[in-house]
């Protein structure tokens, strides 16, 4: 089979092509200073994927996965925001789940047909429908014919057929490697899904079930802030002084919800680079809190270390929650967290996991999934920099899990050490690392 090519696929599907290209141009129009809210972008991407999956009724599970991966690849080329690739990862997991469910249902149906003559009426429930116990949840033995064993078998077979040198040198590729063709041009992305077991090529997921799981993801993203707002008052006490660093819509709505039941005050420090430059624009976060009747004391970021010892809790909002429980937060958050930890104050993170949870680890330290923003707000308007001077403005900090006391999320509130357990509900580790 030739390697999958998205442009040729889209050329015969004008409606889908239009939907995808309008979403991509929306993404391209985004800039750090003026961008749509991330949930809006995630929902837009979800719409495109929903259209894709609902229109390909004859495609097998394998083909659907390749399609979703290809669309995700196009998105990843334009935007480095991991929230979008997280959505792609979740959709891929839904497709896999529905393929497995369809395969299990078909297998159960076939087994029932075989025993139809015996008249006992009771068919063996398929392995996947077994009632889970604690042990089987924590240490599930792969049942015979299960995906894990099939992946392992398929991969072992493939590697065995190559020589040692070839196996060591080959890039991680799917079936495109077996064809050995270099026919793909530079613009076509090679699939990085690990080899799929054979039933993926022959099984089609049930369309209604698939659309239902996509709708669940949609509901998750659009209503998760309600779940956060409902628990807000549990994490703040009366007379608290809440230190916040950096701004986000999630944090604003969290504090507003808490202020309905608790009376506290906020010490707010904005990220220095954001409001530098002229003309200064007032912070929507502060205006919103004041309108809700919360007393706010605004301080510059350099006052955060002394302020940490005067506050009861540091509240941070996460841009992303990483697989080890650490977070990416606005630049300077690590400094605020260090000050809070030195003064023995808890650092509580508010995060909406429906699109912020990612399977990636902080392998790059402070450079993980980070970017450098334009330094021009730091410099005066007519500044002529000398040759040896460079100005730097990073976008994010990585805050390690050992500094965080709690992660308050739409799925529940836990210590950061719990995050790994949530990953398998949203993502499949057989999917490419980029999409999780």
């Amino acid at each position: 089979m030739p390697p999958f090519s998205l442009p040729s696929f889209l050329s015969s599907r004008p409606k889908l092509s239009l939907s995808l290209s309008s979403f991509l141009s929306l993404l391209r129009a985004n800039s750090p200073s003026r961008s749509l809210p991330r949930p809006v972008l995630c929902l837009g991407l979800l719409e495109v994927l929903k259209l894709l999956l609902s229109s390909e009724r004859r495609a097998s599970g394998r083909e659907l996965l390749l399609l979703v991966e290809a669309v995700g690849g196009e998105v990843a080329l334009i935007s480095t925001d991991a929230a979008l690739t997280n959505v792609v990862g979740r959709v891929m997991k839904s497709v896999r789940d529905e393929v497995e469910a369809a395969y299990a249902a078909a297998a159960a149906g076939a087994a029932a047909d075989q025993r139809g003559g015996e008249g006992d009426g009771a068919s063996n429930p398929p392995a996947l429908a077994r009632q889970p116990s604690l042990t089987s949840t924590l240490f599930p033995p792969p049942p015979p014919g299960s995906p894990e064993l099939l992946y392992a078998a398929a991969e072992t077979e493939r590697l065995r057929s190559l020589s040692l040198g070839e196996a060591a040198l080959e890039p991680e590729e799917g079936t495109a490697a077996e064809e050995g063709t270099a026919a793909s041009s530079g613009s076509e992305r090679r699939s990085q899904i690990l080899p799929l077991p054979p039933h993926y090529s022959s099984t089609r997921p049930a369309l209604s079930d698939l659309m239902e799981s996509i709708s669940e993801i949609h509901n998750d993203i659009s209503t998760s802030h309600t779940a956060l707002d409902d628990v807000a008052h549990l994490h703040l006490a009366d007379q608290d002084t809440v230190l916040t660093y950096g701004e986000s819509r999630t944090l604003t709505s969290f504090l507003r919800a808490a202020s309905k039941k608790r009376s506290f005050q906020v010490l707010h420090a904005p990220v220095p680079g954001v409001y530098a430059g002229s003309p200064p624009s007032p912070s929507p976060h502060v205006s919103s809190l004041l309108a809700a009747g919360v007393p706010v004391t605004a301080i510059p970021a350099s006052n955060v270390p002394p302020a940490a010892s005067q506050s009861s809790v540091l509240l941070l909002s996460a841009h992303l929650v990483l697989a080890n429980g650490g977070i990416l937060a606005p630049a300077g958050s690590l400094l605020a967290a260090t000050a809070a930890v030195s003064s023995r104050r808890p650092v509580v993170v508010v995060a909406d996991l429906s699109y912020k949870l990612t399977r990636r680890y902080p392998h790059g330290g402070q450079d993980t999934l980070n970017s450098l923003l334009s330094p021009s707000p730091l410099l005066p308007p007519d500044f002529d920099p000398p040759k040896c001077l460079e100005a730097v403005r990073p976008a994010r900090d990585y805050v390690p899990p050992e500094m965080l006391e709690l992660l308050v999320t739409n799925l529940g509130t836990w210590k950061p050490s719990y995050v790994y357990r949530l990953l398998q509900d949203s993502f499949c580790e057989q999917d490419p690392a980029e999409f999780a």
């Binding site: 707010h268 904005p270 990220v271 220095p272 680079g273 954001v274 409001y275 530098a276 200064p280 624009s281 007032p282 912070s283 502060v286 205006s287 004041l290 009747g293 919360v294 007393p295 706010v296 004391t297 605004a298 301080i299 510059p300 970021a301 350099s302 006052n303 955060v304 270390p305 002394p306 010892s309 005067q310 606005p330 630049a331 300077g332 690590l334 400094l335 260090t338 000050a339 030195s342 330290g365 402070q366 450079d367 980070n370 330094p375 730091l378 410099l379 005066p380 500044f383 920099p385 000398p386 040759k387 040896c388 001077l389 460079e390 100005a391 730097v392 403005r393 990073p394 900090d397 990585y398």
Partner: protein, 260 residues
């Protein structure tokens, strides 16, 4: 003497004086107090004026001595992190560059009083490679640095460093990263006061400089812009003075030596 006191208290009422100003005032007062009353007025005046000149020379000398001592601490291929602007550190870096060290400097700055840009430009004009960033760039830039060199307004006898707001955060972050934090401080900036935290003796700056809220006025909003903070001695590795490189706990000892 009482005239001097009233002059100094007037200055203090205009703005609370720094530790170095306190030392200067104390040295003038002690010169006046040690005057021999039998001497003619002209000689008394010249005695006090000489004392003042000596203090000024001591300041110059301290700066040069510190620059010379810092040469031992700035090696080639170092990347030195500093915060804000300081004439003393500018002198230190220029001298290290003139003596042939090849090093880089990372200058961090506060968004409310961006004096660091002047420092960065002056260093770059002296052909020292400089990376400039605001306070939020610390976590990104700290792994690239090998040591932190700070200046201060003064050091108290319990080893707390009084410096520009933000210094304590940098010292905390550097200590957490196991990076040496050196504070350059002339001995006339040592003080017998004791400071436990940043809030007991501080100054408010211009609140309109906090850009995020400069357009908002609301009864529930207050804006605080503290100018100084106190860094505890456990976050400081060493203090570079003209008498040598000492740990922060030795400040009280140095003060006692100076008295004698």
């Amino acid at each position: 003497m009482s005239q001097l006191n009233s002059l100094f208290s007037y200055l203090s009422k205009c703005r609370a004086h720094s530790m170095s100003m306190g030392s200067a005032m104390a040295s003038v007062k002690s010169a006046v107090q040690s005057l021999d009353p039998s001497l003619p007025t002209a000689e008394c005046r010249s005695f006090v004026l000489d004392a003042i000149d000596r203090f000024a020379e001591k300041m110059e000398f301290s700066a040069s001595a510190i620059a010379k001592l810092c040469l031992t601490k700035i090696n080639s291929d170092d990347t030195v992190l500093t915060y804000g602007s300081s004439e003393l550190l500018l002198k230190v870096f220029r001298e290290a560059k003139d003596k042939g060290r090849t090093f880089r400097v990372v200058v961090l700055d506060s968004d409310v009083s961006p004096t660091g840009l002047r420092m960065a430009t002056a260093l770059a004009d002296h052909n020292i490679p400089v990376t400039y960033s605001l306070y939020d760039g610390l976590s990104h830039l700290l792994p690239t640095c090998s040591k932190v060199l700070l200046s201060c307004d003064g050091i108290t006898s319990n080893g707390s460093v009084a410096a520009a707001a933000g210094t304590s955060g940098i010292a905390m972050a550097a200590t957490r990263a196991n990076m040496p934090v050196l504070v350059c401080c002339e001995t006339f900036k040592f003080s017998r006061k004791v400071i436990r935290d940043s809030l007991s003796a501080n100054e408010r700056g211009d609140p309109s400089l906090v850009a995020a809220v400069s357009g908002i006025s609301h009864p529930l909003l207050s804006v605080v812009n503290l100018l100084h903070d106190a860094t505890r001695s456990e976050y400081i590795s060493a203090v570079v003075t003209e008498s040598g490189i000492v740990p922060p706990s030795s400040v009280a000892v140095v003060l006692r030596e100076l008295d004698q």
